[in-house]
């Protein structure tokens, strides 16, 4: 089964609900396991929130595109935005995961979670836009 979904939405946190409802559709149509549903929701929230808050500085008047492509062996997600160049593979500091509770810094986990939950991440800057491609392979 090959299923595709494309979304274009404003750079507004209230749009996260639309992403959730598209994932809900895919969950039903493609019979996604609960782990995958959670991971895809999480990864999209972390990345979209990052683009809105840091890329656009909270300005809701931009557009973000998401393409989801569910194939026999993998899910491919592409996120496109026209915010300043941001390569989450290079420009994101590693969080501190070892300090004691008292010294553990608050925050900085979002992009780190994306790295660990996806199998492959590719970034390219093309015609003034960030293209982030994420691949999650299906478990056999």
């Amino acid at each position: 089964m090959n299923l595709k979904r494309s979304l274009r939405f404003a750079s507004d946190l209230r749009e996260l609900e639309r992403i959730q409802s598209v994932i809900k559709e895919l969950e039903k149509e493609a019979d996604w396991p609960p782990d995958l549903v959670y991971q895809v929701n999480l990864v999209l929230e972390e990345l979209v929130v990052n683009v809105i808050n840091y890329g656009y500085g909270g300005d809701p008047n931009h557009e973000i595109e998401i393409d989801l492509n569910w194939e026999a062996d993998k899910l491919t997600v592409e996120i496109v935005d026209d915010a300043p160049a941001f390569n989450p593979l290079k420009d994101n500091p590693e969080p501190d995961l070892t300090s004691k509770l008292e010294n553990r810094p608050i925050g900085g986990l979002g992009i780190y979670l994306v790295h660990h939950l996806m199998d492959e991440i590719k970034y390219r800057r093309e015609q003034g836009r960030n293209h982030l491609t994420l691949i999650k392979r299906r478990e056999k």
Partner: protein
């Protein structure tokens, strides 16, 4: 997201139901800090938590730090497998005790 609170002996048990995401993390933080009083032990039962993102993890870390400063104990229980995985990736399992069930925490 809903939080149901009960107290047994000196322990506050807060059961979190639903989603915690960027949209309601602030509300989650206010609800938790409002619910926690001078309790010497606080347990969050996450068995009915369906979703949490890094914005919710941030709140749990704030609560854990605040309780540590007050000398109170803090524990989590009943995490679903995908949520537990996210806590492990984040290294939270090393700084906040996580139990399989509410019964296990109460007996500990």
């Amino acid at each position: 997201m809903d939080i149901d609170v009960e107290r047994k002996n000196e322990t506050l048990i807060a059961k979190v139901t639903g989603r915690v995401d960027s949209a309601n993390a602030r509300e989650f933080e206010q609800a938790l800090s409002g619910a926690i009083g001078d309790d010497s032990k606080v347990i969050l039962d996450l068995g009915a938590l369906s979703y949490i993102s890094s914005s919710g993890l941030r709140v749990l870390l704030l609560v854990a730090k605040a309780l540590r400063n007050k000398g109170a104990e803090f524990a989590l229980c009943s995490l679903s497998d995908p949520i537990r995985e996210v806590f492990e990736i984040s290294g939270f399992d090393k700084i906040i005790p996580i139990y399989g069930s509410l019964m296990e925490v109460m007996e500990d």
